[in-house]
Amino acid sequence: MDAKINSLHRTLHKVAKYFKKKSIQFTLSISFSFVALLGMVFMGATIYSRSVSSMKEIIIQNNEQLIEQVNLNLYTYLRNMMRISNTMYYSVIKRVDFSKDSIEKEMNLLYVINRDMLVSIALFRKNGSLVAATPIEHLKSGLNVSDQNWFIEANKEIENLHFSTPHVQNLFHDSSYNYHWVISLSRVVELTSNGNISRGILLVDMNFSGIEQLFTKVNSSNSGYVYLIDSSGEIIYHPKQSLINSSLLKENNKIAATYEDGTHEEVFEEENRMVTITTVGYTGWKIVSVTNTDDFFMSYNQTTFFTIIIVVLTIFLIIFANQFVSYLIGNPIKKLDDSVKDLEFGKLDLNIYIGGSYEIQHLGKTIKSMVEQMHQLMDEIVIEQEKKRISEFEALQSQINPHFLYNTLDSIVWMVESEQYEAATSMVTALANLFRISLSKGKNIITIREEIEHAQNYLYIQKLRYKNRFEVTIDIDPEIYDCCTIKLIVQPLIENAIYHGVEFMDGDGLIEIKGYVKNDDIYIEVSDNGLGMPEETVKYLLTDNNRVHKKGSGIGLSNVHQRIQLYFGKKYGLEIESELDEGTTIRIHLPQVFYDTRTIKEDATYEDK
């Protein structure tokens, strides 16, 4: 028991697990359809089985009612016959002395009254000779009445009335070619003649068509038929008697005679039939009602087929409706889910789905507003970060080292004092130019020409200050003059060359500035023949932000490197080659972009941001 529950539990678990992996729409439609299907099938099966059994009951009931009706009619008919016979016997024959009186008048009267039912009434003596008869009195010639079956049967049981099976009357002379199928009611009677009592036979021949009529009525309906047999199973009436007589049709009459009253199921000639039997009073005859259940169920099967079609169509309809409903419910959820998935994958221009039932709409709206808020927050962070960076950057840019300014101004003062006015004027001009380019109206992107000019101004000042302790050569490919660069990138390199390279060279120092194009990129090299740097210094030169020369302009190499990469991408930046006692080359790598409105615009856009 426990094992069973366990296995059931496991199965349920499996099913639940299976459905967990499926979409809501799928789960909904499958479960709805399954439940609908189960319901329809269960309903159909119940209705079918119930109606089959009730149909059978109805057939049996109908047959029994029908057969009872027939029985009643037949009984009445036979009773009428017996009444005629009784009247004839007790009211006429018993009261008459045949030696004196005749009974023809009474017999004729009785016949006329019951003419519809009767063919003839006749009274015979024990030896078969005719006493009286109506309506025809002449027997056929050469006829031996006592050989006839009704005569023999009547004599067998003196007390009883005897009903014969249908036969052709073979008694009276009839000049027409008519013949009569009759059922004979014969009985032994006592004839009184001169006080002597002798035996006679009273014969009432009933018209067979009377019985036929009783049955034709009930056999007019299509379902089944009713026939009549005697106690030995001989057919008295059958709707297709001619066919049976001609052996074109078979009937199960002999077996039917052995059945008890009631309903029986039998198989006859490969047909399933329901046979209802009732026995008729006085005669021992049996009324047999036959219903071919195959036929009946064939027409019933059509209805069943029709019902099944309807059920199947309804199932389809329900499945379709389920699909529709589950689509209505499931699809908005799926769409919302898809939107959320997109969100997960970081799709930016996201449009969260809003639709379906109001709960899902609400969910969608909430997610949408959340996403919007998130985006807004993210944008704000980015802008803030950028602003911060720019301000830092700008601060850096504006940090012209006070040492440098002080030293320069000091040099100018010294020049004025020593009356070198010309030099002082040039120096002031150079300093002014230096600041002008440095500011560049707030632009970040300038031409290389401007940048080199700025470097030259710087070099001019430094040369004056260092009293031409070093030489400078500038070799710029004119092609690149009009290309873009960010400002203040060459000057920090020169500063580095001066302080680390040539400061202590005593006139032998050489700074080379080269600008050229290689592989569609711009390279600007600043080389010195100074002391060079050890490898460790080179390593952190580009990463350490704090290494700003005290006496310099205040912009470190790392700052230059970062800015280039920030503007032009990771591919660009500074490259440093240094060898101790040989010198250092620092190379600026920039993309070749011509300075035009686009770049200004880009720049402006950047600044706008």
């Binding site: 056929k140 010639s141 050469g142 249908p166 036969h167 052709v168 073979n170 070619y177 013949y179 199928w181 067979f208 036929e212 034709t216 709707p239 297709k240 008697q241 001619s242 066919l243 007589n245 001609s246 052996s247 074109l248 027409s299 059509q302 209805t303 087929f305 029709f306 079609i309 309807i310 169509l313 389809f316 309809l317 379709f320 529709f324």
Partner: protein
């Protein structure tokens, strides 16, 4: 909006499908319950006496009721007229008969007409076939054996009465010898008496000669025959008419099944009658149109039962049911 339109379309499609299926199923079922147009069968028999075919007609009517056929029963105005029967056949086909049941009035002359008709519609021959046509269903008793049986009855009866066969004179009425049923019976009858030594006279009317009964009466006056044999209903009825008024006793044997024949058998005018089950003949002829032969027998012949009856045996239960059909 787009989805909605698609949805509406799908629903519409489904409803249409559902409706069509429902309606077609309903129609299919009601259609299969509906009875087909009745199958019209024309029955063309020879002779002008419709009583002659009463039993056949009962069988045909029963068959028509059972199989749902509509029957038009046609008799001729003259006893034996090939042209009339041929015209009747053509008329019935023109009138839209779906099938023909036919008893040929002349097995030779009707051959072509029947052959032609058989090309356009199914034909079932009853009682009398046409000569030399193959493949047309034919329902009949074994006419040769019927003839044989009537001959045997004659022999049986004579053996009880007469001392030598040569004393006995038999007259055989040679009527309707162009009908297959009759000349086959003739063959059977003659074969049965081949070695009997009876003195057999063949009575044959000239064409357009007088009334058959009068002819018989005349011949009876001319030659005192002991036994008169007729091989078909009409001639047997004529024999009855001739013999009834006759002065001397004459034994009549014949083949036939009309009420008149039965009546006179009962009244002792006829000695023995060979009786064929014409009810079966009629019923089976209708059945032929509706029930295909389950066994593909090579012979198109369906044989029906016949019995030899006399006054003593006609009321036996097994005989009286055939001899006196219950009219239903």
């Amino acid at each position: 909006m787009k989805i909605n339109r698609r949805l509406v379309l799908a629903i519409l499609l489904f409803v249409t499908l559902f409706g069509t299926l429902y309606i077609s199923t309903y129609l299919y079922i009601t259609d299969s319950n509906k009875k087909e147009d009745p199958f019209n069968i024309s029955v063309i028999v020879y002779g002008s006496n419709s009583d002659r075919w009463a039993t056949l007609k009962q069988g045909i009517d029963q068959g028509a009721a059972d199989f749902g056929a509509q029957v038009n029963f046609v008799t001729m105005t003259m006893d034996n007229n090939v042209d009339e029967q041929r015209k009747l056949l053509e008329r019935e086909i023109l009138n839209g008969a779906d099938g023909i049941i036919m008893a040929a009035t002349d097995s030779y002359s009707m051959k072509n007409a029947v052959e032609d008709a058989a090309l356009t519609l199914p034909i079932v021959m009853v009682e009398t076939n046409v000569e030399g046509v193959e493949g047309i269903p034919y329902i009949s008793a074994d006419n040769y054996s019927m003839g044989l049986n009537i001959g045997r009855s004659v022999i049986l009866n004579c053996n009880q009465e007469a001392s030598t066969n040569t004393d006995i004179k038999i007259a055989l009425l040679m009527e309707n010898q162009r009908r297959s049923s009759v000349y086959e019976r003739y063959d059977g009858f003659m074969d049965s008496l081949k070695y009997s030594g009876f003195n057999i006279e063949l009575w044959q009317r000239e064409e357009d000669e007088q009334n058959l009964s009068l002819f018989i009466q005349d011949r009876m006056k001319e030659s005192n025959v002991d036994i008169l044999v007729a091989l078909d209903d009409t001639s047997l009825e004529a024999v009855i008419d001739a013999v009834e008024t006759n002065d001397y006793m004459i034994n009549v044997y014949g083949i036939g099944s009309t009420n008149k024949i039965i009546h006179y058998l009962d009244y002792g005018v006829l000695n023995s009658v060979v009786y064929q089950n014409e009810f079966n003949m009629g019923y089976l002829s209708i059945q032929k149109f509706f029930v295909k032969d389950e066994e593909k027998s090579n012979s198109p012949l369906t044989e029906i039962e016949f019995r030899t009856i006399n006054r003593d045996t006609m009321y036996l239960p097994k005989n009286q049911r055939l001899v006196f059909p219950i009219i239903q």
